[in-house]
């Protein structure tokens, strides 16, 4: 398609940052990050099928401090994407479109993400000892 010199719509940098757009961007970013996590999940499962040694290796990699950092990031991303996804489902049902509600649900998503992530990791460390 010949785009010629036709004007493009204004890009992100001309807008004032608002919670609504930030959360929208994070939703897509966490989605892409979780896709990478899904590939690691596939590696972990396949290692278990490959044999005890391969699975031990996979467990050791994920238990390394860098592996734990990634897992923490993926936990955060998953809870965010899940909570904000529920927010999207409410919008799909036609609910929660008032600006005050949109901002409130946005902050609620952030709070729920932090609480759920911390609970999961405290639980994980509690079981691990």
């Amino acid at each position: 398609m010949n785009m010629g010199d036709r004007p493009l719509s204004p890009h992100l940098q001309v807008y004032r940052w608002q919670i609504t757009m930030v959360l929208s961007i994070i939703h897509r970013a966490t989605g892409v990050a979780l896709a990478v996590g899904a590939l690691v999940l596939a590696y972990w499962i396949n290692a278990a099928a490959y044999g005890p040694e391969a699975f031990n290796n996979a467990q050791a990699i994920l238990d390394h401090w860098f592996g734990r950092l990634l897992l923490f990031g993926w936990t955060l991303a998953l809870y965010y994407h899940l909570c904000n996804g529920i927010r999207h489902l409410f919008w799909d049902a036609g609910k929660g479109f008032e600006m005050s509600q949109v901002r409130m649900s946005g902050w609620l998503v952030l709070a729920a993400t932090l609480v759920l992530t911390l609970l999961s990791w405290l639980g994980g460390y509690g079981l691990l000892g």
Binding site: I45, A48, F55, Q59, L82
Partner: protein, 126 residues
């Protein structure tokens, strides 16, 4: 004159080139993933430090095996749908876009199917 019918000539000329199937599938897999991913994260915290024998025993519980297969299936389906939209938004040029979309589909199906087969092998393999 053309052999194509009037309907055939206008089909696919809209900007979306599709109906609501993609949008709906993304929502349905999202709804399925709410309980499944909560269950998985909770399970994963209990699997910390397990060796392969422990994991095998865990997968041997029918409920765990079934939920894992449902989780992996919905996850890779949802992943393929989501990445498809990202590709359609950011990859310009028809050839690169179509190749990226096909690659995305192949990667999702490959890792999804291999994970499910791996789970079945852990559960039922000798």
């Amino acid at each position: 004159m053309s052999l194509k019918s009037d309907l055939g000539q206008v089909r696919g000329l809209g900007s979306a080139k599709e109906g609501t199937a993609h949008w709906w599938a993304q929502r349905v897999t999202a709804v399925a993933l709410v309980p499944l991913s909560l269950w998985f994260v909770w399970s994963a915290t209990t699997l910390v430090g397990f060796d392969q024998a422990g994991f095998k025993e865990w997968v041997n519980h029918a409920a765990n095996l079934m939920l894992m297969i449902l989780f992996v299936g919905s996850l890779f389906y949802h992943m393929q749908l989501g990445l498809q939209v990202v590709i359609e938004d950011y990859v310009h040029g028809e050839k690169t876009k179509v190749m990226s979309l096909v690659l995305n589909l192949f990667v999702a199906v490959f890792f999804g199917v291999s994970s499910i087969i791996a789970l079945l092998k852990v559960a039922f393999g000798g």
